[in-house]
């Protein structure tokens, strides 16, 4: 068992032991390594100023993705090559991304710039042909207050004129991947009353949970990190699943989407693009690339937020969770999983190993809605999923789930019953809106008043009716998704 972290930073091997392992990566870079190019602004994943690239060894290669280093604990980065803004130059030569950012005035005050440069490097690495759309998608996780983004997009459309090297050319992956070979019996660090454990097998993981009922599983850390930074969470025992073999698969089996307990949202986004477009649409609006690269579906489910974006879909698909512990496996329907605000039908020694989502049939319509103050990189004010089959003007198999209107995501049985088997008319949907309003208990908070949420509960049904049933004229290409 290894008692320290091993990672690479900008091509150099680093060994971290003791309490430093429990710092956030951003804090470690700035305060311990003196690498102050990485900025922290919000410390909660919402601005991207702290973006770094994390390269995960896979079959002798390194797969780089951008993540928010402010909500990554350093222990999450064991076995990773971290590339920060300082690692992109070749001697004194700027990279292509850096050069274009200079030439196109992509930096004004410069405080957001390292984050943009790193996120844009990931875009360049992807090798995709870049249009304005790709540039915007790739940079959704980065805020800039100075430039109005336009010069940054221009830089992203150019990305030439620098040293021209890819990350693999700057940092040949073979030796790094080799040097990062995982410790076969895991990593465990005990320091200052805190313990971190990275098991190598599921069996070790379950045994650890059984032995440490208070242990917190940290996956992407996109909820965990925010809770640590902003809400004073400071658990003494933590476990990551990053070194497990398996549990990261995504497949369609017998008409069901089966997602492994540690599959990332980014992987799911890619997988669903052609196979489950409705879910893909909502994943594209989920956080930012940085968040989706780190965050997992299981984390979204286990975090139990009533405004978790994937939940309404899982509810109307009547998804099943596979929970596993040393005592064995069991399945729980998602509709029965949440007992109250952040209360789960899950024992402390259990973990989610699979999410199984029976997919709707071809003839069914499923629509997912996310209403948020800002379309992108925002937490929902209200979410909804509406599923039904409309044949000959009649509705059947009606399933409706709303989020953001109660302490947990709700199914709306009375509204479903009203629509079930009925003819789809505007008047009926209007009535359904009234029924729906009676089934929810929204509160006023920073993201919207209860009146607004109640209005949305009705309006979203009208939106479904007009867009999906009445086939109202929808202008192409401008969808306020």
């Amino acid at each position: 068992m290894r008692d320290h972290l091993e990672l690479f930073l900008n091509g150099r091997k680093v060994r971290v032991s003791g309490t430093d392992a429990f710092r956030t990566a951003a804090n470690w870079l700035r305060e311990v390594r003196g690498a102050t190019g990485t900025k922290t602004v919000c410390e909660e994943g919402d601005c991207g100023a702290c973006t770094v690239l994390v390269g995960t060894p896979r079959d002798g290669r390194l797969d780089y993705v951008p993540v928010n280093s402010c909500i990554q604990m350093l222990f999450q980065l064991d076995g990773i090559h971290v590339v920060s803004v300082e690692g992109l130059q070749l001697g004194s030569e700027l990279s292509d991304v850096q050069r274009s950012m200079v030439d196109h005035h992509g930096a004004q005050c410069g405080y957001c710039t390292p984050g943009f440069v790193v996120a844009m490097t990931a875009l360049r690495e992807s090798g995709a042909a870049v249009t304005g759309r790709e540039a915007r998608e790739a940079l959704t996780g980065n805020l800039c207050r100075c430039t109005g983004y336009d010069p940054i997009i221009e830089a992203a459309l150019d990305m030439t004129g620098g040293h021209g090297r890819s990350l693999d050319e700057l940092y040949p992956p073979g030796p790094i991947a080799e040097a990062l070979a995982r410790a076969s019996d895991g990593v465990r660090i005990d320091a200052n009353g805190r313990t971190f454990f990275a098991p190598h097998t599921l069996r070790d993981a379950l045994a650890f949970l059984a032995a440490n009922p208070g242990a917190v599983i940290v996956q992407g850390g996109t909820d965990f990190g925010v809770q640590c930074n902003k809400r004073g969470l400071r658990p003494s025992v933590m476990m990551t699943l990053a070194h497990l073999d398996g549990l990261d698969g995504i497949a369609i089996e017998n008409g069901a989407l089966v997602v492994g307990g540690r599959a990332t949202l980014a992987a799911l986004e890619k997988f669903t693009e052609t196979r489950v477009p409705a879910l893909h649409g909502i994943l594209q609006l989920f956080g930012s690339p940085q968040i989706r690269n780190a965050g997992t579906l299981a984390g979204n489910v286990a975090n139990a937020s009533p405004i978790a974006d994937t939940l309404p879909f899982l509810f109307v698909c009547e998804a099943e969770l596979e929970l596993e512990s040393v005592r064995g496996k069991r399945a729980v329907g998602i509709n029965a999983f949440y007992k109250g605000y952040k209360q789960l039908d899950k024992a402390p020694d259990e973990m989610i190993t699979k999410v199984r989502v029976p997919l709707p049939g071809e003839a069914e319509t499923v629509r997912l809605y996310k209403v948020s103050k800002r379309r992108d990189l925002d937490i929902s004010t209200f979410t909804a999923a509406i599923r039904m089959t409309v044949a000959g003007g009649r509705m059947s198999g009606v399933k409706i789930a709303y989020g953001g209107v109660a302490p947990v995501v709700l199914r709306l049985p009375r509204t479903e019953a009203l629509l079930e088997g009925a003819g789809a008319t505007e008047a009926l949907f209007r009535e359904a809106g009234d029924v729906a309003r009676g089934e929810i208990a929204p509160i006023s908070d920073v993201r919207g008043s209860k009146e607004f949420r109640s209005l949305l509960a009705a309006n979203v049904l009208m939106k479904f009716f007009h867009e999906e049933i009445a086939g109202a004229r929808v202008a192409p290409g401008t969808g306020a998704r």
């Binding site: 190019g37 602004v41 929808v474 306020a480």
Partner: protein, 769 residues
């Protein structure tokens, strides 16, 4: 020549490599203390008792200070001196500093903050403008700009609309939160690195609070990670608190706000609540207008009265209104003292006007653009503002006409109206709004600057001014001006760190004037240096020859090469010239000075010529709204501006796109929400939503006209920092248009910001009628 060229920002390379150093990037000094403070948790109250014993016991806590520990003056303020650095018994807003905490680590500061126990008698706070008016709680006196007889003109007008227009606050949301490091110097003096737009103000307040002379305080400001007005007055508090700790402990002291702290404890753009009445005829001519502006100044005066003055000077925006009365009152409330933010009251005045224009148009069933064009300031007549200044070289009519054509406004408006008749799910709106933004500080004496230009013996040049670099590119522009003026290569000119040690008694880098006044001061220094060097070169270039005789007038210095135009074949380098000049005992340093000419302002009568010139522009924006959720997208924005002769087109373009998007944010997604007790709930980007890259208009075009008439300003340029922010109002107006198009001729009292909730609720109201 470099002026007019698109050269990169002088810090760009450091920005993209991460090498640029901001205050909190300065490596920790040995012995350094971390500083924070405990602030008032109640909006208004009296501290009965403060128990610091537990906090003092926390390991690592070194010192705790209250107002009683201040040796100099505790009360300060840029206009009125009404603000305590540390609350003396009475607390006036949530976030007000009460106890300064100095500790070995940030963790210890946080722990101490939690350990402080206070017994506070809660008093009923004033949290809204209505509350303040009811309680007659004001800052300064009500001011008026008046011309003709507005009352009578409105009474006689065929149509009148009236109402109340509300605009919300806005956080500056610079990415680099406030930060400062104070270091004790010998003999009690202090040096402070501050992320400030206003080093002189920081210096003044530190001297005042610490009981030092101004000469004993040096404030250094290398760069900011954004300012937007938020560091004009309010960088002062953290810097002074750090200085207090440094003075008392004789140890370096660092303070760096988190984003949450920063948003809670500092003030924002002022919310306004404006009552308006406007009379007009059938054709849409505005006959008379009366407005009563009320702003939420927060607990202390800060710059509120100056901001109100600018709001009032922009109340009529681009329109000539002969009979007009503009009143302005600043309310004292129990929120954090509201302060400067890009636009400085201008946006609040202009949005009120543009809202009136929209309502006039609905009343008459006309395209609002026709009303705008009709009432637009004239070029030869109808060109005097309500405060008596002439709008010289007025390019508004030209910009209106060119933009309407280039944006295809007329056809697109028809299409939008057709779209709205047909679509059951979406609504569109399109609007053109103009801006005419006065350049110069309203307060005349602030319009001055000095610059220090030092030439070294190798011909390289250092320039220091009072301008602070916050990303706007002021240093780059000054370097271009200096390179041209001295005749050296741009690479030979280096802009130095801003410090009160080199440039004294400077004005804030604000009011968009940074490049104008500091650039002009640098040019002043260069001219004198050039004259001396020309004298010297004239002698050197004819040395040892009988004829011709030395002629300084024929000396040409261009991009580092010096020659006599009568005999251009014989040249020397600028470096050789500098070297020789030094040997001939010619001074190679000069201090320049500039005071903006022509301007004057009667602070009592509110009349005069407060601005040297106006920066002008207009934008057409088109939006699409989801009828069910209120979610809005900007489909297209076309901006056309008059920025004179641009010193650096790349930098100016970035100022325009950045300001526009910031203005759009103010108008749409940026909403400061408070709890009933006055606590700010939206204090991080999770809940406070500035525009994201995805919110950029899908089609975004920025252009400017060719205009070389602005000879009053440096190189015929025009300031560009703030004016385009007000073009974001076109997005709001487009949203209002969208809603009006389904409101069957009724008004729609859309507030600003037009958040999704605001839009959805307005739509629901329209439908329920």
């Amino acid at each position: 020549m470099y002026v007019g060229k698109n050269v990169p920002h002088d810090s760009a390379r450091g920005h993209v490599t991460g090498e640029s150093v901001y205050v909190d990037d300065i490596p920790h000094l040995a012995n350094e203390l971390q500083v924070g403070y405990w602030w008032s948790p109640v909006a208004r109250g009296r501290i009965r008792a403060l128990d610091l014993a537990a906090a003092a016991m926390i390991p690592g806590v070194v010192a705790l200070y209250t107002f009683e520990d201040i040796e100099g003056g505790n009360i300060f303020g840029p206009i009125f001196q009404d603000e305590p650095l540390l609350a003396p018994g009475e607390v006036s807003y949530i976030g007000q500093p009460v106890v300064v905490i100095a500790a070995e680590t940030r963790e210890a500061v946080d722990a101490a903050r939690k350990a402080i126990v206070a017994d506070i008698e809660r008093l009923t706070p004033i949290l809204t403008i209505d509350d303040a008016v009811a309680a007659q709680s004001f800052i300064g006196t009500r001011r008026t700009i008046s011309r003709g007889n507005a009352e009578a003109a409105i009474a006689a007008a065929p149509h009148v609309v009236e109402g109340v227009f509300r605009s919300g606050g806005q956080d500056q949301f610079y990415l680099e939160s406030q930060a400062a490091i104070a270091m004790p110097d010998e003999h009690g003096a202090i040096t402070v690195h501050s992320s400030t737009q206003n080093p002189t103000e920081v210096q003044d307040v530190i001297a005042h609070v610490l009981g030092l002379s101004q000469s004993e305080v040096v404030v250094v400001a290398k760069r900011m990670g954004g300012g937007f007005g938020g560091k004009e007055c309010q960088a002062t508090h953290p810097a002074t608190i750090a200085a207090l700790v440094a003075q008392k402990t004789r140890r370096p002291a660092r303070i760096a706000f988190t984003k949450d702290e920063d948003m809670i404890v500092t003030g924002h753009r002022h919310p306004f609540q404006n009552r308006y009445r406007v009379g007009f005829d059938d054709s849409g001519h505005i006959l008379g207008m009366q407005v009563d502006f009320y702003s939420d100044g927060g607990a202390f005066a800060d710059l509120s009265t100056a901001i109100m003055a600018r709001a009032m000077c922009h109340a009529e925006n681009a329109y000539y209104i002969h009979d007009i009365e503009i009143n302005g009152t600043v309310c004292r409330t129990n929120s954090a003292p509201n302060t400067a933010m890009r636009g400085f009251g201008g946006p609040q005045g202009v949005a009120t006007m543009e809202n009136m224009v929209e309502e006039i148009a609905v009343t008459l069933g006309r395209d609002p653009f026709e009303i705008r064009r009709l009432n637009c300031y004239g070029t030869t007549d109808r060109n005097v503002t309500p405060y008596g200044a002439v709008v010289e070289n007025n390019t508004l009519p030209r910009i209106f006409d060119e933009l309407v054509a280039s944006s295809d406004y007329v056809r697109r408006r028809d299409e939008v109206l057709r779209f709205n008749r047909e679509s059951k799910t979406r609504l569109r709106g399109i609007a053109l709004t103009p801006v005419k933004f006065g350049i110069s500080f309203n307060t005349t004496f602030l319009n001055q600057a000095n610059a220090l230009v030092n030439i070294y013996r190798d011909g390289s040049v250092q320039v220091s001014t009072g301008a602070t670099e916050m990303g706007q590119g002021v240093n780059t522009k000054i370097a271009q001006l200096v390179a041209d003026e001295l005749g050296v290569e741009l690479s030979a000119v280096r802009l130095m760190i801003t410090s009160t040690e080199k440039n004294n008694n400077t004005s804030a880098t604000a009011a968009s004037t940074g490049s104008d006044i500091n650039g002009a001061a640098a040019i002043d220094a260069c001219r004198r240096l050039r004259a001396r060097l020309a004298d010297c070169a004239a002698r050197l270039l004819v040395e040892g020859e009988a004829d011709p005789s030395p002629s300084p007038e024929s000396i040409v210095v261009r991009e580092g090469v010096v020659f006599d135009s009568r005999r251009p074949a014989k040249t020397m380098t600028f470096g050789d010239l500098a070297h020789a000049a030094h040997r001939h005992r010619v001074s190679l340093g000069e201090r320049g000075y500039y005071a903006t000419p022509l301007i004057h302002w009667d602070i009592e009568k509110f009349s005069g010529r407060p601005f040297l010139y106006y920066t002008i522009g207009a934008a057409v924006s088109e939006v699409e709204i989801d009828r069910f959720t209120g979610m809005m997208r900007v489909l297209r924005s076309d901006l056309l501006m008059d920025i004179g002769r641009s010193i650096n087109p790349g930098i100016d373009r970035g100022q325009i796109t950045g300001a526009f998007v910031q203005g759009m944010g103010w108008c749409t997604t940026e909403e400061l929400r408070y709890a009933d007790d006055g606590e700010l709930l939206t204090h991080s980007p999770t809940t406070y939503k500035i525009p994201n890259i995805q919110d950029l208009p899908e089609i975004f075009s920025v252009a400017w006209i060719d205009n070389d008439t602005n000879t009053a300003n440096v190189k015929g340029s025009k300031a560009v920092g703030e004016p385009p922010l007000l073009l974001g109002i076109s997005v709001w107006a487009a949203a209002k248009q969208a809603l009006l198009s389904v409101a069957a001729g009724r008004g729609v009292p859309l507030g600003l910001p037009a958040t999704i909730e605001e839009i959805a609720v307005q739509l629901a109201t329209i439908e329920s009628v």
